[in-house]
Amino acid sequence: MSDEMRVHIRSEYDLVIARQEARKLCIALDFSSGEQTLVATCVSELARNIVEYAGEGEIVMSLALNADQRGLVIIARDQGPGIPNIELAMKDGYSTSKGLGIGLPGCRRIMDDFNIVSRTGKGTTVTVKKWKR
């Protein structure tokens, strides 16, 4: 298995692929089935944000290693309109589309590490990590 998996996100069909690939990596890392579900759900939310707000982007998933931990790094990247107010976007229940507004704050809750960089007109990059327990 390669250490990096890249899924081009253009449509709702790619969401399903991204979720499946996330699960495969989780299995390779020996994550529990509960952790697999959390990670795959987060990937689904990130991929949906790309389709909904930017139309196109990519999800890159790779193995993360540090001195005493193994885990998964997921980067969701697009060149869409960007998020004008990140603080607001991270609030539970806030959404500018038809969503529940739960995608980003939910992801932050279920992952070990969450980072978002967005520039208006340039795009958004969300990086999340999940370490193996």
Binding site: E12, L15, G34, T41, S44, G99, G106, I110
Partner: protein, 123 residues
């Protein structure tokens, strides 16, 4: 691939076979709304046993389907949410509102029959 919808007596059973795409979810809502009228169904079971995750879109769509079914005069019930899925929904803060849920198809059908019988005796 669309989601098969089976008729069993006065009930409809939407039996999800694999992770639906967004458009398959929407299609299911539309077909159920139509078929409840055409077959004069009294209840609808949405069986999500095979789903290995329910994200915010799926949760919202399940809620909407339940609402649509109710507005069409039938009773909705969602069955088969797996333990890991339930766990992750709670962690994410996803809820199905007041949509009735049951362990499996059998329990779902029993609940529908109880709701419908209960409603009739009150008339």
């Amino acid at each position: 691939m669309s989601i098969p919808i089976l008729k069993q007596g006065p009930y409809l059973i939407a039996s999800i076979q694999s992770a639906p795409t967004d458009s398959e979810w929407r299609e299911m809502a539309k077909v159920l709304a139509e078929r409840v009228g055409k077959l004069r169904s009294r209840g609808v079971v949405v069986d999500v046993t095979v789903l290995d995750l329910i994200d915010s879109f799926a949760a919202r769509t399940l809620r909407e389907i339940a609402q649509i079914v109710k507005l069409r005069g039938a009773e909705p019930v969602i069955v088969g949410i797996q333990p890991d899925v339930a766990f992750s929904m709670v962690q994410l803060g996803l809820t199905l509102g007041d949509v009735p849920t049951e362990l499996d198809l059998e329990a779902g059908l029993a609940t529908l029959s109880a709701i419908i019988k209960g409603g009739e005796s009150n008339v």
